[in-house]
Amino acid sequence: MKTDLVLRVGVKLILPFMLLFALYVQFHGELGPGGGFQAGVIAAGMIILYALVFGLTAAKRVAPQAIVERMIPLGVLIYAGTGLAGLLTGANFLDYSRLAHDPPHGHEYGIFAVELGVLITVSSTMVAIFYAFVERRR
Protein backbone atom coordinates (compact mmCIF):
# COMPACT_ATOMS: atom_id res chain seq x y z
CA MET A 1 0.00 0.00 0.00
CA LYS A 2 2.96 2.26 0.62
CA THR A 3 3.57 2.66 -3.10
CA ASP A 4 0.04 3.73 -3.95
CA LEU A 5 0.59 7.34 -5.01
CA VAL A 6 -3.08 8.32 -5.35
CA LEU A 7 -3.87 7.00 -1.89
CA ARG A 8 -0.89 8.73 -0.28
CA VAL A 9 -1.58 12.12 -1.88
CA GLY A 10 -5.33 11.84 -1.27
CA VAL A 11 -4.88 10.97 2.39
CA LYS A 12 -2.35 13.77 2.85
CA LEU A 13 -4.90 16.20 1.46
CA ILE A 14 -7.67 14.92 3.72
CA LEU A 15 -5.72 14.74 7.00
CA PRO A 16 -5.51 18.48 7.84
CA PHE A 17 -9.22 18.88 7.17
CA MET A 18 -9.98 15.93 9.43
CA LEU A 19 -7.98 17.52 12.23
CA LEU A 20 -9.64 20.87 11.59
CA PHE A 21 -13.07 19.24 11.66
CA ALA A 22 -12.22 17.46 14.92
CA LEU A 23 -11.18 20.78 16.49
CA TYR A 24 -14.29 22.46 15.08
CA VAL A 25 -16.53 19.76 16.54
CA GLN A 26 -14.72 20.11 19.86
CA PHE A 27 -14.68 23.88 20.27
CA HIS A 28 -17.93 24.55 18.44
CA GLY A 29 -19.74 21.94 20.51
CA GLU A 30 -21.31 24.65 22.64
CA LEU A 31 -23.12 26.05 19.62
CA GLY A 32 -23.49 23.22 17.11
CA PRO A 33 -23.73 19.47 17.26
CA GLY A 34 -20.79 17.55 18.62
CA GLY A 35 -18.55 17.56 21.63
CA GLY A 36 -15.60 15.82 23.19
CA PHE A 37 -16.58 12.28 22.26
CA GLN A 38 -17.21 12.94 18.57
CA ALA A 39 -14.14 15.16 18.23
CA GLY A 40 -12.01 12.54 19.99
CA VAL A 41 -13.06 9.79 17.62
CA ILE A 42 -12.49 11.97 14.55
CA ALA A 43 -9.03 12.96 15.77
CA ALA A 44 -8.19 9.32 16.51
CA GLY A 45 -9.53 8.39 13.08
CA MET A 46 -7.06 10.84 11.57
CA ILE A 47 -4.10 9.17 13.29
CA ILE A 48 -5.40 5.69 12.39
CA LEU A 49 -5.87 6.66 8.73
CA TYR A 50 -2.34 8.06 8.67
CA ALA A 51 -1.02 4.82 10.20
CA LEU A 52 -2.95 2.68 7.69
CA VAL A 53 -1.43 4.44 4.69
CA PHE A 54 2.01 5.56 5.87
CA GLY A 55 2.81 2.79 8.35
CA LEU A 56 2.99 2.47 12.11
CA THR A 57 6.45 4.00 12.48
CA ALA A 58 5.39 7.23 10.79
CA ALA A 59 2.22 7.40 12.89
CA LYS A 60 4.22 6.92 16.08
CA ARG A 61 6.38 9.88 15.14
CA VAL A 62 3.20 12.00 15.02
CA ALA A 63 1.56 10.47 18.10
CA PRO A 64 4.22 8.77 20.23
CA GLN A 65 2.93 5.71 22.08
CA ALA A 66 4.17 6.87 25.49
CA ILE A 67 2.29 10.16 25.20
CA VAL A 68 -0.87 8.47 23.89
CA GLU A 69 -0.90 6.01 26.78
CA ARG A 70 -0.43 8.76 29.35
CA MET A 71 -3.29 10.75 27.82
CA ILE A 72 -5.81 7.98 28.62
CA PRO A 73 -5.83 8.58 32.40
CA LEU A 74 -5.05 12.30 31.92
CA GLY A 75 -8.47 12.97 30.38
CA VAL A 76 -10.31 11.23 33.22
CA LEU A 77 -8.18 13.17 35.70
CA ILE A 78 -9.04 16.48 34.02
CA TYR A 79 -12.73 15.58 34.21
CA ALA A 80 -12.63 14.44 37.83
CA GLY A 81 -10.31 17.34 38.66
CA THR A 82 -12.89 19.81 37.35
CA GLY A 83 -15.39 18.12 39.62
CA LEU A 84 -13.00 18.39 42.56
CA ALA A 85 -12.36 22.06 41.73
CA GLY A 86 -16.07 22.61 42.19
CA LEU A 87 -15.82 20.85 45.53
CA LEU A 88 -12.85 23.01 46.59
CA THR A 89 -14.68 26.24 45.75
CA GLY A 90 -17.40 25.26 48.16
CA ALA A 91 -20.00 23.94 45.74
CA ASN A 92 -20.95 20.31 45.07
CA PHE A 93 -18.84 17.81 43.09
CA LEU A 94 -19.13 18.68 39.38
CA ASP A 95 -20.97 21.91 40.20
CA TYR A 96 -19.15 24.59 38.21
CA SER A 97 -21.07 27.56 39.66
CA ARG A 98 -18.16 29.07 41.57
CA LEU A 99 -15.36 28.43 39.06
CA ALA A 100 -15.71 32.01 37.75
CA HIS A 101 -16.97 35.40 38.92
CA ASP A 102 -20.59 34.47 38.23
CA PRO A 103 -22.36 31.10 37.87
CA PRO A 104 -23.09 31.21 34.08
CA HIS A 105 -19.43 31.84 33.24
CA GLY A 106 -18.39 29.19 35.75
CA HIS A 107 -20.62 26.67 34.02
CA GLU A 108 -19.23 27.68 30.63
CA TYR A 109 -15.62 27.14 31.75
CA GLY A 110 -16.54 23.92 33.55
CA ILE A 111 -18.20 22.48 30.43
CA PHE A 112 -15.15 23.47 28.38
CA ALA A 113 -12.74 21.70 30.78
CA VAL A 114 -14.91 18.61 31.01
CA GLU A 115 -15.25 18.32 27.22
CA LEU A 116 -11.48 18.67 26.92
CA GLY A 117 -11.05 15.75 29.32
CA VAL A 118 -13.47 13.63 27.27
CA LEU A 119 -11.60 14.53 24.05
CA ILE A 120 -8.23 13.54 25.50
CA THR A 121 -9.39 10.19 26.92
CA VAL A 122 -11.48 9.15 23.90
CA SER A 123 -8.92 10.01 21.22
CA SER A 124 -5.98 8.45 23.07
CA THR A 125 -7.93 5.29 23.96
CA MET A 126 -8.84 4.70 20.31
CA VAL A 127 -5.28 5.25 19.11
CA ALA A 128 -3.82 3.11 21.93
CA ILE A 129 -6.16 0.20 21.13
CA PHE A 130 -5.18 0.51 17.47
CA TYR A 131 -1.47 0.44 18.34
CA ALA A 132 -1.99 -2.59 20.58
CA PHE A 133 -3.80 -4.46 17.79
CA VAL A 134 -1.20 -3.68 15.17
CA GLU A 135 1.77 -4.50 17.36
CA ARG A 136 0.49 -7.89 18.43
CA ARG A 137 2.17 -10.68 16.55
CA ARG A 138 -0.01 -13.25 14.90
Binding site: E30, G34, V41, P103, H107, V118, I129
Partner: protein
Protein backbone atom coordinates in the same frame (compact mmCIF):
# COMPACT_ATOMS: atom_id res chain seq x y z
CA UNK B 1 -41.03 12.76 2.82
CA UNK B 2 -39.07 12.03 5.98
CA UNK B 3 -41.01 8.85 6.58
CA UNK B 4 -40.38 7.57 3.05
CA UNK B 5 -36.63 8.28 3.31
CA UNK B 6 -36.57 6.40 6.59
CA UNK B 7 -38.49 3.49 5.09
CA UNK B 8 -35.93 3.21 2.25
CA UNK B 9 -32.99 3.40 4.69
CA UNK B 10 -34.50 0.89 7.10
CA UNK B 11 -35.29 -1.51 4.25
CA UNK B 12 -31.69 -1.25 3.08
CA UNK B 13 -30.54 -1.94 6.65
CA UNK B 14 -32.71 -5.05 6.82
CA UNK B 15 -31.20 -6.24 3.52
CA UNK B 16 -27.68 -5.63 4.85
CA UNK B 17 -28.51 -7.61 8.01
CA UNK B 18 -29.72 -10.55 5.91
CA UNK B 19 -26.47 -10.29 3.98
CA UNK B 20 -24.48 -10.35 7.24
CA UNK B 21 -26.34 -13.42 8.48
CA UNK B 22 -25.80 -15.32 5.25
CA UNK B 23 -22.17 -14.30 4.80
CA UNK B 24 -19.55 -16.83 5.95
CA UNK B 25 -16.53 -14.72 5.05
CA UNK B 26 -15.73 -12.51 8.04
CA UNK B 27 -14.13 -9.84 5.86
CA UNK B 28 -17.44 -9.44 4.06
CA UNK B 29 -19.27 -9.31 7.40
CA UNK B 30 -17.04 -6.47 8.63
CA UNK B 31 -17.56 -4.45 5.44
CA UNK B 32 -21.33 -5.03 5.59
CA UNK B 33 -21.37 -3.99 9.24
CA UNK B 34 -19.67 -0.74 8.20
CA UNK B 35 -22.36 -0.19 5.57
CA UNK B 36 -24.99 -0.89 8.22
CA UNK B 37 -23.47 1.78 10.47
CA UNK B 38 -23.48 4.33 7.65
CA UNK B 39 -27.15 3.62 6.95
CA UNK B 40 -27.88 3.96 10.67
CA UNK B 41 -26.05 7.30 10.70
CA UNK B 42 -28.20 8.46 7.77
CA UNK B 43 -31.35 7.45 9.64
CA UNK B 44 -30.17 9.43 12.66
CA UNK B 45 -29.53 12.50 10.49
CA UNK B 46 -33.09 12.25 9.16
CA UNK B 47 -34.24 12.08 12.79
CA UNK B 48 -32.27 15.33 13.48
CA UNK B 49 -29.94 13.58 15.94
CA UNK B 50 -26.75 14.85 14.34
CA UNK B 51 -24.58 14.20 17.42
CA UNK B 52 -25.49 10.55 17.48
CA UNK B 53 -25.17 10.32 13.69
CA UNK B 54 -21.63 11.70 13.92
CA UNK B 55 -20.75 9.16 16.59
CA UNK B 56 -22.30 6.30 14.64
CA UNK B 57 -20.47 7.25 11.45
CA UNK B 58 -17.08 7.76 13.07
CA UNK B 59 -17.17 4.93 15.62
CA UNK B 60 -19.44 2.40 13.96
CA UNK B 61 -18.39 2.77 10.35
CA UNK B 62 -14.88 4.14 10.83
CA UNK B 63 -12.86 3.14 13.86
CA UNK B 64 -14.62 -0.10 14.77
CA UNK B 65 -14.35 -1.35 11.17
CA UNK B 66 -10.59 -0.85 11.40
CA UNK B 67 -10.49 -2.60 14.80
CA UNK B 68 -12.50 -5.55 13.50
CA UNK B 69 -10.24 -5.88 10.46
CA UNK B 70 -7.22 -5.79 12.77
CA UNK B 71 -8.85 -8.49 14.91
CA UNK B 72 -9.52 -10.57 11.78
CA UNK B 73 -5.80 -10.46 11.07
CA UNK B 74 -5.26 -12.50 14.26
CA UNK B 75 -7.91 -15.12 13.63
CA UNK B 76 -9.47 -17.21 10.88
CA UNK B 77 -11.52 -15.23 8.42
CA UNK B 78 -13.99 -17.97 7.47
CA UNK B 79 -16.84 -18.81 9.79
CA UNK B 80 -17.44 -22.53 10.37
CA UNK B 81 -20.80 -23.97 9.47
CA UNK B 82 -22.77 -24.95 12.58
CA UNK B 83 -23.17 -28.72 13.04
CA UNK B 84 -26.87 -28.48 13.82
CA UNK B 85 -29.26 -25.79 12.56
CA UNK B 86 -29.29 -23.06 15.26
CA UNK B 87 -32.96 -23.37 16.17
CA UNK B 88 -32.69 -22.26 19.81
CA UNK B 89 -30.93 -18.94 18.97
CA UNK B 90 -33.54 -18.36 16.25
CA UNK B 91 -36.35 -18.89 18.77
CA UNK B 92 -34.68 -16.55 21.31
CA UNK B 93 -34.22 -13.84 18.67
CA UNK B 94 -37.81 -14.15 17.47
CA UNK B 95 -39.05 -14.07 21.08
CA UNK B 96 -37.03 -10.97 21.99
CA UNK B 97 -38.10 -9.26 18.77
CA UNK B 98 -41.76 -10.01 19.47
CA UNK B 99 -41.44 -8.62 23.02
CA UNK B 100 -39.79 -5.44 21.68
CA UNK B 101 -42.52 -4.91 19.08
CA UNK B 102 -45.13 -5.55 21.77
CA UNK B 103 -43.37 -2.96 23.95
CA UNK B 104 -43.56 -0.27 21.26
CA UNK B 105 -47.37 -0.56 21.26
CA UNK B 106 -47.36 1.04 24.71
CA UNK B 107 -45.25 4.02 23.60
CA UNK B 108 -46.82 7.30 22.58
CA UNK B 109 -46.74 7.92 18.79
CA UNK B 110 -43.36 8.90 17.31
CA UNK B 111 -42.51 12.58 17.63
CA UNK B 112 -45.43 13.70 19.80
CA UNK B 113 -44.39 16.68 21.93
CA UNK B 114 -46.62 15.71 24.85
CA UNK B 115 -45.01 12.32 25.44
CA UNK B 116 -44.11 11.68 29.09
CA UNK B 117 -40.38 11.80 28.38
CA UNK B 118 -40.69 15.40 27.13
CA UNK B 119 -42.55 16.59 30.20
CA UNK B 120 -40.13 15.68 32.99
CA UNK B 121 -36.93 17.79 33.03
CA UNK B 122 -36.59 18.58 29.32
CA UNK B 123 -38.62 21.86 29.44
CA UNK B 124 -36.43 23.13 32.28
CA UNK B 125 -33.22 22.36 30.38
CA UNK B 126 -34.55 24.00 27.20
CA UNK B 127 -35.67 27.12 29.05
CA UNK B 128 -32.68 27.60 31.38
CA UNK B 129 -29.66 26.30 29.45
CA UNK B 130 -28.49 29.65 28.05
CA UNK B 131 -29.31 31.56 31.21
CA UNK B 132 -27.54 29.13 33.55
CA UNK B 133 -24.62 27.86 31.49
CA UNK B 134 -24.23 30.30 28.57
CA UNK B 135 -24.20 27.25 26.29
CA UNK B 136 -26.88 27.41 23.57
CA UNK B 137 -26.48 23.74 22.56
CA UNK B 138 -28.66 21.98 25.10
CA UNK B 139 -27.19 18.58 24.23
CA UNK B 140 -23.77 19.80 25.37
CA UNK B 141 -25.04 21.47 28.53
CA UNK B 142 -27.05 18.38 29.51
CA UNK B 143 -24.13 16.04 28.82
CA UNK B 144 -21.39 18.04 30.48
CA UNK B 145 -23.27 19.94 33.16
CA UNK B 146 -26.76 18.84 34.18
CA UNK B 147 -25.83 15.19 33.70
CA UNK B 148 -22.11 15.58 34.42
CA UNK B 149 -21.96 12.52 36.65
CA UNK B 150 -23.16 10.25 33.83
CA UNK B 151 -20.54 11.58 31.44
CA UNK B 152 -17.81 11.16 34.05
CA UNK B 153 -18.94 7.55 34.33
CA UNK B 154 -18.90 7.15 30.55
CA UNK B 155 -15.40 8.59 30.30
CA UNK B 156 -14.28 6.19 33.01
CA UNK B 157 -15.86 3.31 31.09
CA UNK B 158 -13.87 4.26 27.97
CA UNK B 159 -10.72 4.51 30.10
CA UNK B 160 -11.36 1.09 31.66
CA UNK B 161 -12.20 -0.51 28.32
CA UNK B 162 -9.05 0.88 26.73
CA UNK B 163 -6.85 -0.33 29.58
CA UNK B 164 -8.56 -3.73 29.49
CA UNK B 165 -8.08 -4.22 25.76
CA UNK B 166 -4.45 -3.13 25.97
CA UNK B 167 -3.81 -5.52 28.87
CA UNK B 168 -5.42 -8.40 26.97
CA UNK B 169 -3.53 -7.78 23.75
CA UNK B 170 -0.14 -6.91 25.20
CA UNK B 171 -0.17 -9.03 28.36
CA UNK B 172 -0.72 -12.18 26.33
CA UNK B 173 2.21 -11.56 24.01
CA UNK B 174 4.49 -10.73 26.95
CA UNK B 175 3.55 -13.97 28.67
CA UNK B 176 4.33 -15.88 25.50
CA UNK B 177 7.84 -14.45 25.30
CA UNK B 178 8.41 -15.31 28.97
CA UNK B 179 7.32 -18.88 28.29
CA UNK B 180 9.84 -19.37 25.50
CA UNK B 181 12.58 -17.92 27.70
CA UNK B 182 12.10 -20.11 30.75
CA UNK B 183 10.88 -23.36 29.28
CA UNK B 184 7.37 -24.63 28.97
CA UNK B 185 6.74 -26.50 32.21
CA UNK B 186 7.49 -23.71 34.63
CA UNK B 187 5.43 -21.11 32.79
CA UNK B 188 2.48 -23.49 32.65
CA UNK B 189 2.76 -24.05 36.38
CA UNK B 190 2.75 -20.28 36.91
CA UNK B 191 -0.37 -19.91 34.78
CA UNK B 192 -2.14 -22.64 36.72
CA UNK B 193 -1.26 -20.91 39.98
Amino acid sequence: MEASINMVLLTLMAIVVIGIVRQRNMFGVVVLAGIYSFLMASVLIVLDAVDVAMTEASVGAGVSTVFLLAALHHTKSLEQRPKTPPLLPLLVVLGVGAVLVWGTIGLSPFGTPDAIIHKHVAPKYLADSIKETMVPNVVTSVLADYRGYDTLGETTVIFTAGIGVMLLLRGASRRRTKKTERGDGKARGEQAA
